[in-house]
């Protein structure tokens, strides 16, 4: 039971933390619960479907289907996270300063909630399909241990979600004026870590060269199998023995999203009252 719990917890943890960060980043936005829970539900349903077609996906594209599928999902999530951050660097200050004065169109219409909902859905889709395959395997095997392993699996899911909730409430204790700066920074590193993971999948599929396999080796200090190492891996992309191509994607993502955030930053000193622009009237 404990073994099952740990296996499932490891898989769920990443999705749990991603949802926790997304929830904190969307604090105060009306209807965010509906969007994010919708994204999560779609992700879980998608995970079940993907698990059902796992054999087909794995053998697709000359056996590289799973890697290409994972890489596609990861890079799509990177784009959504980047888009959210660029949007927040434009409007985040207004949100943090005075939530009551923000135009409704900013809060509801332009806010990229769909991007965040998609990120949650994709996190659950990727990690969830493995959990479904694993638990389905247990159920099929049957036997007396199946029930105790199912309980272990349920506790594993709960523990992963609890970790996400803990991160969410931890982030909420940050004062509002610093909250969105913090979540944007977290999301920036989350995106870079996902890009690095995606690059590793493409190298595994032989689509990209690995450009050197162990650029450094800190596995004697901290491996990704330890809890601290795994947390760091999820949140910052920490890799004890990174491949060169992972570093290229990691740094590249930081630079691209970071400079776009700067480029689109709403600079109050330059604009004075540059608030949400008034929509042109059509008479």
């Amino acid at each position: 039971m404990l073994a099952t719990l740990i296996v499932v917890f490891r898989e769920v943890l990443e999705a749990g933390l991603v949802v926790g960060i997304v929830m904190a980043a969307s604090r105060g936005v009306p209807h965010r619960g509906r969007w994010i829970s919708g994204g999560c539900t779609a992700g879980v349903l998608g995970a079940v479907i993907v698990a059902g077609f796992a054999g087909t996906i794995a053998s697709a594209v000359q056996g590289a289907g799973e890697e290409l599928f994972n890489a596609t999902i990861l890079f799509a999530a990177v784009c959504m996270l980047g888009w959210h951050n660029i949007w927040m660097s434009r409007h985040g200050r207004e949100l943090a300063m005075d939530a009551t004065k923000i135009g409704k169109e900013v809060l509801e219409g332009t806010r990229p909630l769909y991007a965040l909902a998609l990120v949650c859905g994709m996190a659950l889709l990727r990690e969830g399909s493995e959990v479904v395959l694993f638990l389905y395997g247990i159920a099929v095997a049957g036997g007396s241990s199946a029930a105790s392993m199912a309980i272990g699996g349920a506790f594993g899911v709960a523990a992963g979600l609890a970790a996400g909730a803990a991160l969410y409430y931890g982030l909420l204790s940050i004062p509002l004026r610093y909250l969105f700066g913090t979540t944007s920074l977290l999301i920036l590193f989350l995106a870079a870590g996902m890009a690095s993971q995606g690059a590793a999948f493409l190298a595994a599929a032989n689509v990209l060269p690995s450009l050197g396999d162990n650029i450094w080796d800190t596995s004697s200090l901290l491996t990704e199998r330890s809890l601290a190492g795994q947390l760091l891996h999820i949140l910052t992309g920490y890799t004890a023995r990174p491949a060169g191509i992972q570093l290229v994607f990691y740094v590249g993502t930081l630079i691209v999203i970071g400079s776009l955030m700067r480029l689109f930053r709403n600079d109050p000193s330059a604009a004075g009252g540059q608030r949400a622009p008034v929509a042109p009237k059509i008479s």
């Binding site: 073994a3 054999g55 794995a58 595994a204 032989n206 004890a240 023995r241």
Partner: protein, 103 residues
């Protein structure tokens, strides 16, 4: 001639040149558990699951993870690696472990 073929090898998307190495999962053991592999070149691992349970072939040390369904096999490209010992395991049965011994 030699340089030309080297340049060609670098330009072409890696073809069928990689050495193939078969690893079998049987009774929750990797066979062989110590897998010799050449250093400095990309290798193609074929992992075959002969058990009735699903496995996930994973390595933190050469960062690969891939689900292997019961009775199926998967291919994973690894490296080029430096000489050394690289651990891999079955993430769904973490006690199932093996090493890639790169020379």
């Amino acid at each position: 001639m030699c340089i030309a073929s080297l340049a060609l090898a670098l330009m072409l998307p890696a073809g069928a040149a990689e050495p193939e190495i078969l690893i079998t999962i049987k009774d929750h053991h990797f066979v062989p558990a110590e897998v010799p592999a050449p250093a400095g070149q990309k290798i193609k691992l074929i992992v075959k699951n002969e058990d009735a349970t699903i496995s996930e072939f994973e390595s933190v040390e050469f960062h690969r993870e891939k689900v292997v369904q019961a009775g199926h096999e998967i291919t994973v490209f690894v490296g080029p690696l430096d000489p050394g010992s690289y651990e891999f395991f079955d993430d769904f049965h973490p006690e199932t472990r093996g090493h890639l011994v790169v020379k």
